[in-house]
């Protein structure tokens, strides 16, 4: 790979790559992000390569391995360009037929996606409701580029924004564009990005300024940043180079959690390629502008997503937040002015520069411009990553894109913002998704996790789950957070165990409010959110647990019993499955469960083919 010494050399390369492209040659795209690989995409890749080689189709079919496209429910999936034929849940055995079809310009109709609502077969990805209702400015790049081929990225417009910025040579313009776009931090707090950039630009260059990409993404169930880092690492690198130019930063750090090995691998490769081509390092493309970017891996702590704790982590110390002021922009990593932005924020930068700020501002609402990627998971039909404009309603997301409930039970609530967020009941699904409205409803946008819950989800259990997570992830410095989360968990455990009294609820509320008020960092300040929001919207469930010792959703083990009804055929399957010997009964006779022995593990319910086991 040659090193590019001037902007003109870049433009020459770009021209060469585009000239080389033959849009008539079909491309077989296999999405192989972590979710795809977990579903078996690697087998598809193997089969595809084998078929293409054996049938001598190397010149006639291109193969592109990409990151996650977002429809994780349907992985492993295959997309064929230029027609954009979509094949969901592909079995490796069917790969041969798909390759054969592509080579003869035909389709394999029995492998098409079937829309459950209408029963219709749909050939192209863009017809499918899940995709149709999204605005995929970021995720579409995950379809177009092979993350470990920088030439592929350049071919699809990559690094054009960086070159535009360098050619223009106006640092103020860069910051003004980001300000004009209205981009707000996608990490969860929603601070105006342009304003933060302006603050860093205003700091003296003195001993150097630092940019950090926060790739810690700790919320359980959130993997938007993972898909961006795995699927288009160059997009983030380009965003940071532009940011460095506009703010005067000289070095940058990509902080990625250690639990994302594929993202780390792709970033290491991407950084190497960017350095080789001359997009990083000193005197970039001969403009005199220099910027160094390196990768730092996290060490398994949720709290290190908090910016001051993240800085400590990079410095090699324990990840404990510190008080602000002074803010990192004034005094951050190694005492230097530091700007920290989330992965998705950085990814939006090249798009804003390329397409002009006003275009970006037109999407979304007045004070919330652009799109946001959400991880839509839980009891919903179409789970995966979705990219929607700000201002879309929760209902449109859960039903329009998500396809409604995955089972027979009705959807009860949506949890947004991870452990720092809250649950919003189905009655409020007319709520628009933006920073302010979610906050006023008792939740937060957060990094984009969206967990759908149905009638079989116990809201008290949900609060307890998050509190369990938080009490382990708290750094432990603040007494109120460390002990507060422990005690909140203890009280929730009492409630789900049927050992609580009405005063328990008052104590829980009082404790929650105190923890929210007195703790140093956002982890502790938002830790009571799951409790307070479920108490606000689902207080009756709490009261059922406390006053009637009942769990209406049938989840809390100490408050439910299993029993066998008349549909039992006496097949003995549950009897054999039960690990504690709680089931008795003769063949072909209705069985019985001994309630004292039963531990409510659910194994019998899972194997019963007749739905004969009820939860009371």
């Amino acid at each position: 790979m040659e090193s590019l010494k001037t902007i003109n050399e870049f433009l020459e390369l770009q021209k060469r790559l585009l000239a080389h492209r033959d849009p008539t040659i079909p491309t077989l795209i296999i999405s192989a992000g972590t979710c795809g690989q977990a579903s078996g995409a690697n087998d598809l890749i193997r089969m595809a390569k084998r078929e293409i080689l054996e049938r001598k189709l190397v010149e006639r079919i291109h193969l592109r391995i990409t990151g996650c496209h977002g429809f994780c429910e349907m992985e492993p999936s295959v997309l064929v360009e230029p027609r954009r034929t979509y094949y969901p849940k592909v079995n490796p055995k069917d790969m041969a037929r798909i390759v054969q079809a592509i080579s003869t310009d035909s389709l394999v109709e029995d492998l098409f996606f079937v829309d459950e609502a209408t029963g219709m077969r749909m050939e192209t990805q863009d017809e499918i409701p899940f995709f149709k209702n999204q605005v995929r400015t970021l995720l579409e790049m995950n379809e177009k580029v092979d993350p470990i081929r920088i030439y592929n990225y350049i071919e699809h417009g990559g690094y054009q924004a960086m070159v535009n910025v360098l050619s223009k040579g106006d640092v103020r313009w860069v910051v003004e564009e980001i300000k004009a776009s209205g981009l707000r931090g996608r990490g969860g707090a929603g601070f105006p990005t342009g304003l933060k950039w302006e603050m860093l630009a205003g700091q003296s260059n003195g001993h150097g300024k630092i940019l950090i990409c926060n790739g810690d993404e700790g919320d359980p169930g959130a993997y938007m940043d993972r898909s961006l880092l795995e699927g288009n690492p160059h997009g983030i690198i380009e965003g940071m180079i532009i940011g460095a130019f506009g703010t005067g930063a000289t070095e940058g750090i990509l902080y990625v959690r250690n639990e994302y090995p594929l993202a780390i691998k792709h970033l290491v490769i991407a950084l190497r390629q960017a350095y080789q081509l001359g997009f990083l390092g000193s005197n970039i493309l001969g403009t005199g502008f220099s910027f160094d970017l390196r990768l730092v891996r996290g060490a398994g702590a949720f709290v290190c997503g908090e910016e001051t704790a993240l800085i400590k982590s990079i410095e090699g110390k324990m990840g404990e937040p510190v008080q602000r002021p002074p803010f990192p922009v004034q005094k951050g990593l190694y005492g230097k002015p530091t700007l920290i932005n989330n992965v998705e924020t950085w990814a939006n930068v090249p798009i804003i520069i390329n397409n002009d700020a006003q275009r970006f501002k037109k999407i979304g609402t007045e004070r919330n411009s652009g799109t946001k990627i959400f991880s839509l998971v839980g009891k919903v039909k179409n789970t995966g990553l979705i990219e929607v404009p700000m201002g879309i309603t929760l209902g449109e997301v859960v039903h329009g894109i998500g396809g409604g409930p995955s089972g027979t039970a009705k959807i009860k609530a949506v949890q947004t913002g991870g452990p720092s967020g809250g649950c919003i009941p189905a009655s409020r699904f007319d709520l628009t998704i933006d920073y302010e409205s979610l906050k006023s409803a008792g939740s937060i946008m957060g990094s984009g996790g969206m967990i759908v819950m149905d009638e079989h989800t116990c809201m008290v259990d949900v609060a307890k789950y998050f509190m369990n997570f938080l009490k382990e992830e708290s750094c432990g410095k603040c007494f109120t957070c460390r002990k507060g989360t422990q005690r909140m968990y203890e009280l929730l455990d009492e409630i789900t165990g049927g050992k609580a009294v009405p005063e328990t609820l008052d104590l829980l509320e009082e404790l929650s409010n105190m923890v929210k008020d007195t703790t140093l960092c956002a982890l502790g300040q938002t830790a009571p959110n799951p409790v307070l929001s479920t108490l606000y919207y689902f207080r009756q469930e709490y009261l059922d647990h406390i006053e009637h010792h009942r769990c209406p959703a049938g989840v809390c083990k100490d408050l439910i019993t299993y029993s066998i009804n008349e549909t039992c055929t006496g097949c003995q399957l549950c009897l054999k499955t039960c690990s504690v010997g709680a089931v008795t009964g003769e063949k072909k006779e209705i069985h019985r469960i001994d309630k004292d022995k039963c531990i409510r593990c659910g194994a019998c319910r899972a194997v019963c083919k007749f739905n004969a086991i009820d939860i009371n």
């Binding site: 702590a301 008080q323 382990e472 432990g476 603040c478 002990k483 008020d517 007195t518």
Partner: protein, 225 residues
């Protein structure tokens, strides 16, 4: 000089002063546990919180760490502050009831009840011992390990420290007095001070005029038997 308002009183202090120092200088009492003059502020116990700002932006911050700012409005004993302090002390009592320091603070703030499941921990992880060992004794023999529930205090890998000079400062500054003598288990003792130096109280017949800062001191207890 920085001018700010504390409890309605306009005061002027040097830049770099913390809200705690400024408030105490002007006679406004603020309870603390993890704070100690001469050590860097840590902000772990949260007891020193004061309310700053106005209206919807008002929030609680730890006065020991927060630097004075021009025009800041500070309230050291507003209803919000007092309510928070009482709840914090209730939590302290629920974890560490045997500490005289915590008991005194609780009764001074009218905390008469403790509604949580009672625990008997010896350490509140305030970090005074860590800070005095690192900052004043320059030994850095003990520190924090792990996080959340599992956070604890000790020497690296719980081995007897080689940098510990047996000064006993950690025991001296402990508000909950965890680091009492582990006289009966010399291997686990951080300094083994009592075991090595033989405290003078063991030679005496009566302990009345001893200025023992640890009560009960295990050495005393053993002597009684």
């Amino acid at each position: 000089m920085v001018t700010l308002t504390i409890n309605g009183l306009e005061v002027s202090v040097e830049e770099g002063t913390t809200l705690l120092e400024a408030s105490r200088f002007y006679g406004f009492p603020i309870p603390t546990l993890c704070h100690m003059d001469g050590l860097s502020p840590y902000g772990a116990c949260r007891l020193c919180v004061v309310e700053i700002g106005q209206g919807a932006n008002a929030k609680l911050v730890t006065s020991c760490t927060y630097p004075v700012q021009e025009g800041l409005q500070v309230r050291t004993a507003s209803a919000r502050v007092v309510k928070a302090r009482k709840m914090i002390l209730e939590l302290f009592l629920a974890s560490c009831p045997q500490s005289k320091t915590i008991q005194d603070l609780a009764s001074a703030h009218d905390v008469r009840q403790q509604r949580f499941k009672q625990e008997h921990e010896d350490c509140i992880l305030c970090g005074r011992c860590v800070r005095i060992c690192e900052e004043q004794m320059m030994a850095k023999a003990i520190g924090f390990r792990s996080r959340g529930e599992k956070r604890s205090l000790g020497t690296p890998f719980d081995l007897k420290s080689e940098t510990c000079r047996l000064c006993g400062a950690c025991m001296y500054v402990c508000p909950a007095c965890e680091l009492r003598c582990t006289y009966t288990e010399p291997d686990r003792a951080i300094c083994g001070g009592c075991a090595n130096l033989g405290p003078p109280c063991l030679e005496k017949n009566s302990f009345d005029d001893m200025m023992c800062y640890m009560e009960p001191c295990v050495a005393c207890e053993i002597k009684k038997d």
